[in-house]
Symmetry: C2
Subunit: 186 residues, 2 copies
């Protein structure tokens, strides 16, 4: 039995492994172990090795957020887009069981390797959310602070719910954040 892959099939598998183990602890042998994909195939698709794999994963994650979260925040009805963000974020992070790869990379030396991808992800999230809040009637300065509070709050909720191994903490945190961002609009 032999499976033939495309690059696009591998990236989500890699993403899950990087998410669970972090960049440093993700070794090629553990990737092979979990996916059944040999080193030969991995280096065929990612000649740059582990770093190229992680970069591809980051780009994939970014594309998902751009499509599912940021664009609606920038273009659609502000109230609906913000509401959709909370439910999509809760689903994407599996109520806190799944962590944010970009946030995790930001916390250790991995940040230095991917600083522009990491920075861009958060910058665009905050900008898109601020845009929606302003369209919903919020002043620019307040919208900026609220957008930062929302995005940071999600990251913190992931850390906390994982530390306590309790998904209710994550869901409850999202509800609290939603109220905070809702209160100012009219």
């Amino acid at each position: 039995m032999k499976t033939v892959y495309e690059r696009a099939d591998i990236v989500p598998l890699l993403a899950e492994i990087f998410r669970e183990l972090g960049y440093a602890a993700t070794s090629l042998s553990r990737i092979t172990e979990r996916t059944g994909i040999g080193k030969g195939s991995l280096y065929h698709f990612f000649p740059g090795g582990k770093e190229e794999m992680a970069a591809a994963v980051l780009a994939d994650v970014d594309a998902w957020f751009e499509h599912a979260i940021y664009q609606p925040l920038r273009r659609d009805d502000a109230r609906q887009a913000v509401a959709a963000m909370w439910t999509n974020v809760n689903d994407y992070f599996r109520s806190g069981r799944r962590i944010c790869l970009v946030g995790a990379f930001a916390l250790d030396e991995t940040r230095e390797r991917f600083s522009s991808a990491i920075g861009g992800y958060f910058i665009r999230w905050i900008d898109a959310l601020r845009s929606a809040l302003m369209r919903a009637g919020c002043a620019e300065e307040e919208a900026q602070v609220l957008a930062e509070e929302g995005v940071a709050g999600i990251q913190g909720a992931l850390v906390l719910s994982r530390a306590l191994d309790d998904t209710t903490v994550f869901t409850r945190s999202l509800e609290t954040l939603a109220k905070r961002l809702d209160a100012v609009r009219r």
Copy 2:
């Protein structure tokens, strides 16, 4: 030239390295490289190797928070203790330049190794903060939610300020959180 250490001298040095690199990327050779302490000495003080080093660091961090943050929150004037928490946290994390080791450990597989230490740190932080909020006039359920919001918010602010490489994001986030926890008290 030869320096003789005590275990207590080494732990803070290890803490800084674990904080910067994370558990997996912290190797004994990098510890030696940065501290000048040889493998022989390290294994003399920590026969359990890297895992015992990290456990000692976590215990040290925990002791600091217990003394500087949790105990005041439980015992001192509630308003003053909460206010002191914000300034102490800002100083301890160097306005976001320094990350929270416990939070970072919670995000990858390192959590499994130290789950009780990680869980205890956050449980006791939240409990102590809730106690202070209740003494300041907050109902129990609301105090619980606010305490979680505060602690999670700090973790999120660390992620965000590091991702954006911007200490003002951290300081501003703490101010916003302080207002949130202040609003309900009378």
